[in-house]
Symmetry: C2
Subunit: 152 residues, 2 copies
């Protein structure tokens, strides 16, 4: 009946919590820099996608970011209000909304060029380890996402 009997439930034994906590802590490292640009972290990663490939439907953004329209619609409206993107219905398929960078949105890219490097510095992690970790996490995310897709 002792609480110490099941280490499976110890907080520090949970991968899920290690992920949950580290994701939030790493995000916090971006905040001071993003604050200056008036961006939130989620807005920032959304822009990363668009800088890589512009003119994407909300659907595609959602697939890349693992976010749904409930999160993206209000976020994209804010990016639009800030002048970074435009949102237009796709004339080919009026159900779809195409998100495009404005000039201003394109220009913003230069201001964050150095950001990832600045953050890496604060992690005290060798680049190879960071890459390995990143790749493992990507595998994990894809595996889970595939699992979820085949379920009803």
């Amino acid at each position: 009946m002792d609480t110490n009997k099941n280490p499976m439930l110890f907080l520090d034994n949970q991968l899920c919590f290690a992920l949950y906590a580290s994701a939030r802590e790493v995000t916090k490292l971006y905040r001071p820099f993003l604050d200056e640009l008036g961006l939130t972290y989620t807005q920032y990663v959304t822009l990363l996608v668009l800088w890589e490939k512009d003119e994407l439907p909300v659907k595609s953004l959602g697939e890349k970011l693992y976010l749904d329209s409930g999160t993206l619609t209000p976020l994209l409206k804010k990016l639009e209000a800030a002048g970074h993107v435009r949102r237009d219905r796709d004339p080919q398929d009026e159900r779809s909304v195409i998100v495009r960078l404005t000039e201003q949105g394109h220009a913003l890219r230069e201001k964050v060029e150095g950001l990832p490097a600045k953050v890496f510095c604060q992690t005290d992690m060798p680049p190879e380890e960071i890459e390995k970790l990143r790749d493992q996490l990507q595998d994990l995310t894809r595996t889970i996402n595939k699992y979820a897709a085949c379920k009803p």
Copy 2:
């Protein structure tokens, strides 16, 4: 001027995004099980802490979970309303609020015993890899947190 010039900004090269996405996907694996118990993921990890060591001030809970009172206070009120915990001011230091499991809160523990194992199954990851990953992430979190602490 080509957008492909700076791979530092590619979404898939970001550790931060790998963390952000995987944390959310893993959390989603817990949802169906936790839904049955009427718990959210954050409530669940809060209970993990209390099952390990009962009678903790909000402050300590926050340190273990990397959450502040702005998140914990409403969450703990919900756990209290659900009958899982009690919240009482510490008579020794009235600033502090001690969180205690109720009988019901203790009993809930048995219902989640098998949960971590069930989730691991869906990750297709060998246990050693999971442990290594978890330990790396814990190091990362602690490093960042220490960094943040010495800043003004």
